[in-house]
């Protein structure tokens, strides 16, 4: 199933009415067989990028090639090469899982005989054999997402776009979907472009991660590379009896710069790493400051996001909403 082409985009821009710039000059390259995690808060431009790359939305400017085809000039060829599971499983509650697959296969031009075999094969792969002849309206969120994935794979695409595939899923369903996506890339050589707002998802699944904010890619690399850019761990101290965040901050700031990432206490990125820890404990003790908790955090993708944008990824969506309202 592997293809010698992946995804390439140069200066991709999309604006909407009212001069809203959803995607502002994105350059990216996804190698064949790679899982590329596109990480960003709600409203960052992830879905608009996916809509452009899947030919559903023409770009305002810029170019992109998917599976070797130009997304503007060769839309039908792109669609034949890709599979996509877009945000919210778009299913017809009145049709059964099997009927969905048969329809999808038929509209992709798969012969009647092959449709039956392929549908059964995909139902087995995503574990929906027993529910195949039930109406989708009665499926759980996880089952709908699995069917969505099966539909995206109906015509054996070489590139798969998954737009926030695990949003709203319980941990078990999320884990099952991760396993299947990883298997697709490793065993079948499918290139996966995965958008997500979950740090863990990008960390666990993606070979490389692009972090998008306000329509720009602000960082790109493997999860380890990105974390290495941050380098130093963060120390978070939660005040105990009688202690105040201010008194703790006064001590901790001697050992590193504040990150603003702690809700209940004070967090600093340590200047010399773990070796600062003993000195901090001694300094706090000397001042008689009691702590409820002291935690050392290895750099995470959220730290990368914070370092690049000045905001935490987990709080960024709420900030976006607050800005709008």
């Amino acid at each position: 199933m592997a293809d010698e082409h992946g995804i390439e985009a140069e200066g991709l821009v999309r604006t909407f009415k009212g001069d809203i710039v959803a995607v502002d000059g994105i350059d990216l390259r996804v190698e064949p067989g790679e899982i590329y995690g596109f990480l960003g808060p709600n409203g960052a431009g992830k879905s608009t990028t996916v809509h452009m790359l899947t030919t559903l939305l023409p770009p305002t400017s810029g170019t992109a090639r998917v599976a070797g085809y130009d997304i503007v000039k060769q839309g039908p060829q792109v669609r034949q090469a890709i599979g996509a599971a877009l945000q919210e499983a778009a299913l017809d509650n009145l049709l059964t899982g099997r009927e969905h697959l048969r329809l999808q296969c038929a509209l992709h031009g798969i012969s009647r005989a092959e449709r039956k075999v392929r549908s059964q094969e995909l139902l087995e792969r995503v574990g929906l054999t027993r529910a195949a002849d039930r109406k989708v309206g009665g499926y759980s969120g996880g089952m709908k997402r699995r069917l969505d994935l099966a539909l995206a794979l109906a015509h054996r695409p070489t590139i798969l776009f998954l737009d926030e595939p695990t949003t709203g899923l319980d941990p078990q369903s999320r884990s099952a979907l991760w396993t299947e996506v990883a298997r697709l890339a490793r065993e079948d050589g499918v290139t996966v472009f995965l958008t997500t707002q979950y740090l863990e998802e990008a960390d666990v699944l993606a070979d490389r991660v692009g972090i998008i904010d306000h329509g720009h890619i602000v960082a790109e690399g493997t999860p380890d590379e990105l974390k290495a850019q941050i380098g130093r761990p963060t120390l978070e101290a939660i005040p105990g009896d009688g202690a105040t965040p201010e008194s703790i901050a006064r001590i901790l700031e001697q050992f590193g710069e504040p990150t603003g990432g702690s809700v209940k206490g004070v967090a600093v990125r340590l200047e010399h790493g773990v070796e600062d820890l003993a000195g901090i404990v001694r300094a706090l003790d000397a001042e008689g400051i009691k702590l409820q908790n002291l935690e050392l955090h290895a750099p995470s993708l959220d730290d990368v996001f914070l370092a690049k944008t000045g905001r935490s990824l987990e709080g960024a969506a709420e900030e976006e909403e607050a800005e709008v309202t």
Binding site: L56, R79, E88, A90, H108
Partner: protein, 257 residues
């Protein structure tokens, strides 16, 4: 896959959807039939008006459910398509090799099939209650063709509204408007017997009057070339205009490259 085969697939889905929604089956069949029964019983004495074209008000009024059924087709086509837009199912279909024309064609083929089934049902109701179709079996066939045509015309209108607005509520909002057209028509009384001047003028300007009179002519008059030409002509014009608008709205809705 040929465009025709794609139309068949989408039409199959449209019919399955309708068949699995009891409300979509019950209302188009039961409501017009109930209204037919009630109105025929209540207005039977209208047949004594000099010049009334039939001695059976039921035969006279049987044209009504055909047109009302087509209005239900508008609602079904529109709300189904709007739902596909709202849920993203249209995007799913857009990502296949499906042609835009197949989506519209398939959706409408399903609506036309339902329209014809409804028409067969109303014909059977007429036969059961003793209505004798003046144009004979050939006239009944023409009636079914006409039912298909008006289902297509109103179905395309519903599809246009859905594609233009992307909202099922907007489509449903049109229903009362279409109902006003139905009631300000020659539905209850032949136009030349309407005593109130303004009503007669409005009924004469209302294209729905000619659709009703076309159906009615086949039931109670026999072969009336003028009624047939006017009915088929107006239905064709509505169909062409609605299909044109729906196709254009589909082109805008499907921005895919």
């Amino acid at each position: 896959m040929s465009a025709l085969a794609q139309v068949g697939q989408v039409a199959r889905r449209s019919i399955l959807r309708t068949a699995r929604q009891p409300a979509n089956i019950i209302f188009p069949f039961v409501f017009p039939t109930a209204l037919l029964a009630v109105t025929s019983a209540g207005l039977h004495s209208a047949t004594r008006i000099p010049g009334f074209p039939s001695d059976s008000f039921l035969a006279f009024f049987l044209a009504f459910p055909f047109i009302q059924g087509a209005l239900f087709a508008t609602m079904n086509a529109g709300t189904d398509l709007a739902r596909d837009i709202q849920t993203g199912f249209l995007n799913r279909l857009s990502l296949t090799s499906m042609r835009g024309s197949a989506l519209l064609g398939g959706q409408l083929a399903g609506i036309v099939a339902l329209g014809v089934i409804q028409a067969v049902f109303y014909v059977l109701v007429g036969v059961i209650v003793g209505v004798r179709f003046a144009s004979g079996p050939a006239g009944v066939l023409v009636l079914l063709v006409f039912a298909a045509l008006i289902s297509l015309a109103f179905g395309a209108l519903g599809s246009f509204l859905a594609l233009r607005t992307g909202s099922g509520e907007s489509v449903q909002g049109l229903f009362p408007v279409l109902f006003v057209f139905l009631f300000i028509s020659s539905m209850n009384t032949p136009r030349d017997l309407i005593a109130v001047d303004w009503f007669r003028v409005l009924a004469s300007l209302n294209p729905v009057s000619y659709l009703i009179e076309c159906v009615r002519s086949l039931i109670i008059t026999g072969w009336d070339p003028e009624a047939l030409v006017l009915g088929f002509g107006i239905a064709t014009l509505i169909a062409i205009a609605s299909l044109f608008l729906a196709a254009r709205a589909l082109g805008r809705r499907l921005e895919r490259t």
